[in-house]
């Protein structure tokens, strides 16, 4: 074991993201959506049929949350959903502070936390080793937060994502089940044109 390497008893979360994410989101057409690489982009491409209200990322790790902020400020009359994983959120967790001081009422953030860097071979992330991202969101100043660990909490989370009092943050703790295998548009400029055309009527 490396020096000061901490191994905790592994947290056990039972929910399969393939079921929990659709149950938490509900009707995806309620939102403009930015999803982080890579698992949550697969979750959302599967849920929406890779729809035009979704901009999925496959790089620029750590960008999804700030991108959602820019979109939310630009479109105050639409609800914006950022959905990203624990690894990506940890890369720029300070963005939660940037968001909380503005507190846009039309922005909701979901972190699908499986405790692993799934895309790179399921190495443990910090959230498997004692880091709690809802606590970090609270510390950043986000007032409306929750952690969802079981099916009976999903309905409350679904409601929170549609609250209009301020930015909300939902931590969805799931098992290591893989996200759905689904093809999605991987060309970032084409995805930009598709999203803008659907929203604005022009590219």
């Amino acid at each position: 074991m490396a020096k000061q390497h901490k191994e905790l008893p592994e947290p056990i979360f039972k929910m399969d993201r393939c079921k929990a994410v659709p149950a938490l989101i509900g009707n995806h057409e309620d939102f403009l959506i930015v999803s982080g690489l890579a698992g949550t982009s697969k979750d959302m491409a599967s849920l929406t049929g890779d729809a035009a209200n979704l901009y999925t990322m496959a790089g620029a790790m750590g960008a999804a949350t700030a991108m959602g902020l820019g979109l939310a400020l630009a479109q105050p009359d639409k609800r914006v959903l950022v959905i990203t994983g624990d690894g990506e959120l940890l890369m720029n967790v300070g963005t939660l502070a940037t968001i909380s001081v503005l507190n846009p009422a039309n922005l909701s953030i979901v972190c699908v936390d499986n405790g692993y860097y799934g895309e790179t071979g399921y190495q443990k992330s910090h959230t498997s080793r004692g880091v709690h991202l809802e606590q970090m969101a609270i510390g950043a100043g986000i007032k409306m937060t929750s952690t969802i660990e079981s099916e009976d909490q999903l309905e409350d989370g679904k409601r929170m994502l549609r609250e209009t009092n301020g930015t909300s943050f939902v931590l969805l703790r799931v098992s290591q089940e893989r996200p759905p295998a689904v093809k999605r548009l991987m060309e970032p400029a084409a995805a930009r044109t598709r999203f803008r055309t659907a929203l604005l009527g022009h590219s």
Partner: protein, 177 residues
């Protein structure tokens, strides 16, 4: 106008740059606090028609600009030269996605710099930005500020480029220690 009204505070080039940005419908002003941008930042904070967004790190401002474009708004990122280094990977998003980016960079680590910590990143600003496809334009005198920002805004928002306006230390003066 003549100099008849002595009570009016002098309008610096920063005020004119702010007006150019507003004339281009920029509504999201993002920044990490910086002495070189202090006046532009304060103008954005005082403007009820814009969002003034304090970032924790500069790359957030790159992603913010991409999100703004998805929603048909325009953003500008104001940062110091040291912040350029924090942005590099996120510039993949702008280049790959053909998102417009306008950034205004206040320089350290060049003309007359006395702090050795500022030198490496200051000297690397232009090569690393150009390596990521960002067009760089220098401002060395107050007279150049408005036409350069005007040109950069057009190249960013109309032609869809990533463009950096570099406010040099010849313009801003080197920090005195």
């Amino acid at each position: 106008m003549s100099n008849t009204d002595d009570d009016e505070p002098a309008r610096g080039w920063q005020h004119d740059v702010y007006d150019v940005l507003r004339a281009h419908d920029v509504s999201q002003f993002s920044y990490v606090p910086d002495a070189g941008h202090a006046l532009l930042i304060d103008l954005s904070i005082a403007d009820p028609d814009v969002h003034s967004i304090a970032l924790t790190t500069e790359e957030e401002g790159v992603a913010l600009a991409a999100g703004a474009n998805l929603g048909d708004a325009r953003a500008v990122l104001m940062m110091q030269s040291s912040g350029v280094g924090n942005c590099i990977n996120f510039l993949s998003l702008m280049k790959g996605g053909k998102f417009p980016l306008l950034t205004i960079i206040s320089m350290r680590g060049e003309f007359g710099e006395g702090n050795p910590w500022q030198m490496p990143m200051g000297q690397a600003v232009r090569p690393v930005l150009e390596a990521m496809g960002v067009i760089c334009m220098d401002v060395t005198t107050p007279d150049e500020a408005v036409p350069t920002v005007e040109a950069a805004a057009t190249m960013a928002y109309k032609a869809g480029n990533s463009v950096a306006v570099i406010l040099t230390q010849k313009l801003l003066g080197a920090k005195v220690f």
